[in-house]
């Protein structure tokens, strides 16, 4: 029960920061709202018995990825976002997008809550320490792990080639 109260508070902060990202007029503020969202996500991971992912979330998402975003925003000087005027002939886009978003949310809620899930036999809680996650990564998931490392290398080379001066 205490878990649920904490989760509701965290969820409120999470949704508020996501709305801040959606509505802010400044790219730096938007990126900082996203950092807040990722930080709240890390705390939720801790509550859900995933300490390894909580640390990775803070260091990779809130750390590395968002620093890259902030770096590019400041490098380009693209902080000020132009007011969101619709291009000519596209004034229908905003209500259409909001309607489609509401439909998506309704669909997700239907799948998650109206359709009853299968009954789950309560299993014994598992060990989800970093050691256990590491054993899974280098045991059952060794091949995907190696593929991911090649993917990261390809992405790094691609980023260098795309941005080099010609």
């Amino acid at each position: 029960m205490a878990d649920l109260i904490v989760l509701v508070l965290l969820g409120a902060v999470s949704v508020a920061s996501a709305l801040g990202l959606l509505l802010s007029r400044n790219a730096i503020y938007a990126a900082l709202f996203l950092v807040l969202n990722f930080g709240v996500g890390a705390v939720i991971y801790l509550l859900l018995n995933a300490p390894f992912l909580a640390v990775v979330q803070v260091s990779v998402y809130a750390g590395a990825i968002m620093v890259l975003f902030l770096f590019v925003i400041m490098l380009l000087g693209a902080e000020r976002l132009s007011p969101a005027e619709d291009p000519p002939g596209a004034s229908f886009q905003r209500p259409l997008a909001i309607g489609l978003g509401a439909a998506l949310l309704g669909l997700a809620a239907y799948v998650l809550f109206i359709r009853q899930p299968v009954a789950i036999a309560p299993a014994t809680p598992i060990d989800s320490s970093p050691t256990a996650v590491g054993l899974a990564l280098f045991g059952d998931y060794l091949f995907p792990f190696e593929v991911i490392s090649v993917l990261l290398l390809v992405a790094m080379i691609g980023a260098v080639i795309l941005t080099r001066d010609r």
């Binding site: 649920l4 509401a102 789950i120």
Partner: protein, 100 residues
């Protein structure tokens, strides 16, 4: 409402806000951040279901999603920087030509 149901609901709300960001914002950087928000919402659902089913596989998948997101951000931001050099803009409405 138990914790799994609440986190699943939170995840779908965050995903919808991300979709709205992609549909409504005009800056390529903001669209990209909204995609990150959607990935994060999917990760939340993965972790909550891993917690519910007492299995580690959901957490391992989230680790892979984070690695793919890092690769995607590196390439995507490089593309945005390159486009900004030629067009002096990150507004996707002005990026309709298929040539440099």
């Amino acid at each position: 409402m138990d914790t799994t149901a609440f986190v699943a609901l939170l995840s779908s709300v965050l995903f919808t806000i991300g979709v709205l960001g992609v549909l409504l914002r005009r800056s390529a950087l903001l669209i990209f951040m909204s995609v990150e928000l959607m990935l994060n919402a999917a990760n939340l659902a993965f972790v909550s279901f891993a917690h519910r089913w007492n299995q580690l596989d959901g957490q391992v998948i989230v680790f892979f999603v984070m690695a793919v997101a890092a690769a995607e951000v590196a390439v995507g931001l490089a593309l945005i920087v390159t486009i900004f050099r030629t067009k002096r803009s990150t507004n996707v409405d002005e990026l309709s030509a298929l040539r440099g």
